[in-house]
Amino acid sequence: MAEGDYQHWVENITLLADAVRELEPLCEDLQVAPPGEQPWHGALFQHLLPQVAREHPVIIVAVAGGTNTGKSTIFNQLAVAEVSRTERFATKTKHPVCVVPRDQFEPHEVQQLFPRFEVRPWQTDEDATREAAEDLLFLTEDRHGHQSARLVLIDTPDIDGALPENWRRAELVRSAADVLVCALTEQKYNDDAVVRFFRHAGDADKTLIVVFNFVDWPDDRELCLGWLATFRQMTGAQPHYVYAAPRDREAAAGLRLPFYSLEPTATDLRRDLSDLKFTEIKMRSCRGSLRAILDDEQGLPRFLRDVGTQADRFAAARDILVRDVCVRKIELPRVPGHIIWQPVWQWLKPHRTTFDIWVHGFYNQVGKVVTAPFRASESELEDRFRAAEWESYHRAVQEMVDKLRLLRKCGNEIIQAAAAQVLRGSELEELFHSLKRAYDELPLVSRDFREHVDGTLEEFSRNNPRALKLVTGSLLAGAVVRPALTVSLACIPGAEIVAASAQTAATQAAAHAATHTIATVGIDVAAALGTNIGAEAAGQWSLTELLRGIFRDFYQLRAERLIALVHNEMTGPVLDRLDLLANVASSPRLRAAERAAGELRGEMITHCPL
């Protein structure tokens, strides 16, 4: 295979691995089965990735089987050293022991070959039985120098005992291996767990070497062949070599346990192992792994499809929530006029003369003081407005909570989970409190509204300069008339009333205020009429339209703000999470991975890698 093609192939594999790494943490949220337990995952991450990067490929030979089937015994025979302790109690071997050829490997290279294990130097044969929660791997070198330079031997924990961590470690080693030595016995050649384990190995095209242990040799020779036939049938695998080993504790302790061959091709286990055709085996196992990875039904493409489907479901759930549940409309109570008038007067200020600002300001103050007992103050009005608005707001939020409650009962699981996230007792209380806090911090007149008013009025004055002049003119006229009125009232016939009793100063002030109020109202009415007429003369936009528009905009902006608040505090996090998961389907890595998988499948059909 050409160098460039090989590089491209490695790139594709890396793309696949990157995509899986990105998607793996989201699997639980997406409700997709985690890929870590699937065979293709092991084939990709334990077998292909660690080994494709190597300059000089190696063959990994692993010894596997059920508890107390004599795996460690066989392993010690192969390594020609007591590296793995053989115990009479089951599930004792908990961590794999790895034997590498002398002076060929650095520890970090072995670490690269077995990425999920923590490589430690081997010290005694009890290392493998150590109780530890981490996945350890004990490394030692072949002390006799017989081991072939490209052969790596590794022992495994059991696959059917009562300790699930052992199975997991055994499966990781199986995924990484190219050749498996199957330790079978008359009791454990057809067990569920054993058969399942070796079936996966066979599906991935690993080379299998079967050893029947604890055999009564030579009496049971025919029986072994029968068991072999059953094993072939149940696992669908074709073992390369088959041996039988007798029950001989002394020979095992002396490292000279005989392996009798059961097939003409096999001779002696150790020799056959060294004579293995590396290239052929390597190609077979890589092709097997690749096939397992690219399998449409069980492999990576299926995983990517599942992820895509789930992401779409999350997108649908998010749409339902946004469309049906989220608050869209809030009925606001009537806003006190002064809130809206205030920005308008503010904008108008630069266009008025100082004189009329003063005069009108003075009279307004007096009027306020006098009518104070009869009118609610501005802050009271604002408070009332806020209270009524909060009621209405709260009602809209409650309706949303009702809808969520309904969805929690009847929606699909995704919606149910999303609704439950908001509706859990402690969560709900917290959400209400934070909503109230955020609401209280919201100013009545926001900066947005002020800017909006300024903008609208600017535009209006630009389009209708005469209307503006009319308004300022009438204000000025009023400013002149009012003081005149005061003076005249003080000077005409009621003067003797005024002069007569000094005690009635209060009544005098009251009388003034009364007449002034009437007069001012009259002036204001006149001014309004004037502006109306003037505005109609101006043509396009009447002032009343303008003012009505400003009121409308206030309601709209305010409602938008409130809705945004609900979204931030209550539904935001939920919707954001749904968004995140829904967007997985369109993530570029996913697309790249699908493309890479397609290319690899095409290449696999035409020619093999390596």
Partner: protein
């Protein structure tokens, strides 16, 4: 192993038991049946709560077995043999029987494909309850089988090779057969004593069965009993003894008439003599009780866990009520602070009731009725038309305002806005409580209204609350006013104020009298004119009003604190119950039903304690508290 005469009947063929023993046995069984009946009743009467549904499912599973006790009490002991493939179950049975009955060997695995039953010629197998399940039956006339049936079960860790009917997968077969066994003999070998498949099946079927553990390939394997024992103990088994023997050798010995090894003899003796002959009834009864105890243990775990959210709910109810209470209290404080008219009115009312007679009291009544006098005085003082117009309009205005204030004060507490909480607060509290209730699984028992139903409920609750509070505050203020008046405005006070009131008028009258009778008639000074009268009248009025002010001050001093106390007391009472009534009721129902179950359990425990007799047997079992 001596049986005392009061022990219940132990052998089927032994001499007739003393009558009391039989009566005891029947009574115990009757009591046991009663417990079962009560359990069933309890399940049927359970409110709709998820944990109760799960309890019902559990009971469904175990009830058939529990009911079989009486039926099968007299029947033979059923001993099942369970273990991984190739451990030697069939060989062991053959050894016990003394001949090759079941197929055994290592030619193919699994060897045992269907359950194989070894029994007497006369035994009726319908008692086994297997119905038309395919089994291989071997009938032999053996001493071993007098009171015992041996069942060789399929292995839980293998499937039959492809070609056999896959409908009868081994594990399903095992699960159909094991429930009918009274004793399970667990057979292991050095390779297969820690297999997950076997231990999980064992855990599933162990409750209600006695267990015997055997390691059966002693010649070839090493002794692994200590590890097996600790492994089993870690999984919750109480292991008495593990027999170490070699089934193959025992079989050969028996076939050739040789004596068997002691371990095998011990096992045979245990099964045949101790269990089947002597303790058959005891074992079956003990099994039933064991299963019942295990069931209660499961129900405990289930219900305890499910009751935790209920505890949280109850805490939350009181927390929400406290929050609302606090808000109401603050609101009441503010309202009462800013409405002195309420208490002043009440004080005056009470006072006037108490001080029925006397000129001062009469004056107070007049003032009450007419409102503020000064304004009318002002009206009387005005000289010109304008002044009259202005002063009278002002007077009218302020009189109206007074009336309005009074009316407002009266309305104040009935208007729920001044209660300090709003519909929103009530709705929020309810929402949170309902969320907790749903978490606790009470959504079937509580009417969770939504939409306008919820609105109406919240408004109704608030209105009721406001009404209640108003009534209570009214009452409390009345009582406070009465107390205060009684304390501070007693007869002595009344007399004092009357006297003070009369000082000025009496002085004026004396002066007038003096003036008229003495100065005028005797000294011929001029009479004091109406001016003097009017002035003195004004002074009398001024003095009277001052006195009135002083009286009110005297009465009202420090009343504010009392009023705040009133508000606190009102709030502390049970006014917020309607908010969470339905939820707390539902929770109480659930708790009550759980307590009913524990009562049944206590009665059962009493019964079980009477039956602690099986310790003498060398058998193992699963600890009842274990899951």
């Amino acid at each position: 192993m001596n049986d005392s005469p009061t022990q219940p009947g132990l052998t089927a063929r032994g001499p007739a038991e003393p009558l009391e023993g039989e009566w005891d046995q029947h009574r115990q069984l009757a009591d046991f049946d009663e417990i079962l009946r009560r359990l069933r009743q309890w399940v049927d009467a359970a409110p709709r709560w998820p944990a109760f549904a799960r309890s019902a499912a559990l009971l469904e599973r175990v009830e058939p077995q529990l009911k079989q006790v009486r039926l099968r009490l007299d029947s033979v002991l059923v001993v099942g043999f369970v273990g991984g493939t190739g451990t030697g179950k069939s060989t062991l049975i053959n050894a016990l029987a003394g001949e090759q009955v079941c197929q055994a060997g290592k030619v193919q695995r699994p060897t045992t494909l269907r359950p194989e039953v070894l029994c007497n010629e006369t035994v009726d197998l319908s008692v086994l309850g297997l119905g038309d399940f395919p089994v291989e039956v071997h009938r032999r006339k053996l001493a071993l089988l007098e009171n015992m049936i041996l069942v060789d079960c399929p292995d839980p860790d293998t499937q039959p090779t492809a070609g056999e009917a896959t409908a009868n997968r081994n594990r399903d077969v095992l699960r159909a057969v094991l429930p009918h066994c009274d004793v399970i003999v667990v057979v292991g070998s050095q390779q297969k004593y820690k297999t997950e498949a076997v231990i999980s099946e064992l855990l599933r079927h162990a409750p209600g069965r006695k267990l015997v553990f055997v390691q059966s390939q002693a010649t070839r394997d090493e002794d692994i009993r200590s590890d097996w024992s600790s492994f089993l103990a870690a999984r919750g088994f109480q292991v008495r003894e593990i027999y170490l023997l070699d089934a193959q050798e025992a079989l050969e010995a028996r076939l050739n008439g040789r004596p068997v090894e002691p371990a095998f003899a011990g096992l045979a003796h245990l099964l045949q003599v101790q269990l089947a002959n002597r303790a058959r009834h005891r074992i079956k009864r003990s099994n039933a009780f064991h299963l019942c105890q295990w069931t209660f243990g499961q129900l405990h775990a289930l219900l305890d866990e499910a009751q935790q959210p209920l505890g949280r709910l109850e805490r939350e109810v009181s927390s929400q009520q406290d929050q609302l209470r606090e808000k109401i209290r603050r609101g009441l404080h503010d309202t009462l602070q800013s409405n002195r008219y309420t208490w002043r009115t009440k004080l005056l009312e009470q006072l006037l009731q108490k001080w029925s007679g006397g000129p001062f009291a009469g004056f107070l009544r007049l003032v009450n009725a007419l409102g503020s006098w000064t304004r009318w005085a002002l009206v009387a003082r005005s000289r010109s038309a304008t002044e009259l117009a202005v002063t009278s309009s002002l007077a009218a205005l302020s009189a109206v305002r007074d009336k309005w204030n009074e009316a407002r004060a009266a309305r104040v507490l009935s208007n729920s806005q001044h209660l300090g909480i709003t519909v929103a607060d009530v709705a929020q509290a309810r929402s949170v409580l309902l969320a907790y209730a749903e978490d606790a699984g009470l959504d079937e028992l509580v009417d969770i209204r939504s939409g306008s139903g919820r609105e109406r409920f919240c408004e109704q609750t608030l209105a009721d609350l406001a009404g209640q509070v108003q009534l209570r505050v009214d009452d409390a203020l009345d009582v406070a006013a009465r107390q205060r008046v009684a304390w501070r405005a007693g007869p002595a006070c009344h007399w004092l104020f009357e006297l003070l009131f009369l000082v000025v008028p009496v002085g004026v009258i004396v002066k007038l009298g003096m003036n008229f009778f003495y100065e005028n008639l005797v000294q011929a000074k001029p009479l004091l004119g109406t001016d003097y009268l009017v002035h003195s009248l004004i002074w009398i009025l001024v003095a009277a009003f001052l006195l009135r002010g002083a009286l009110l001050w005297w009465l009202a001093a420090g009343l504010r604190g009392k009023v705040m106390q009133v508000a606190d007391e009102v709030v502390r009472g049970g006014i917020l119950e309607p908010l969470a009534d339905d939820v707390t009721q539902a929770a109480t129902r659930v708790h009550g039903h759980c307590d009913a179950l524990w009562r049944v359990e206590r009665d059962f425990q009493r019964l079980a304690d009477e039956l602690r007799q099986v310790e003498e047997l060398q058998v193992s079992e699963l600890e009842p508290g274990w899951k």
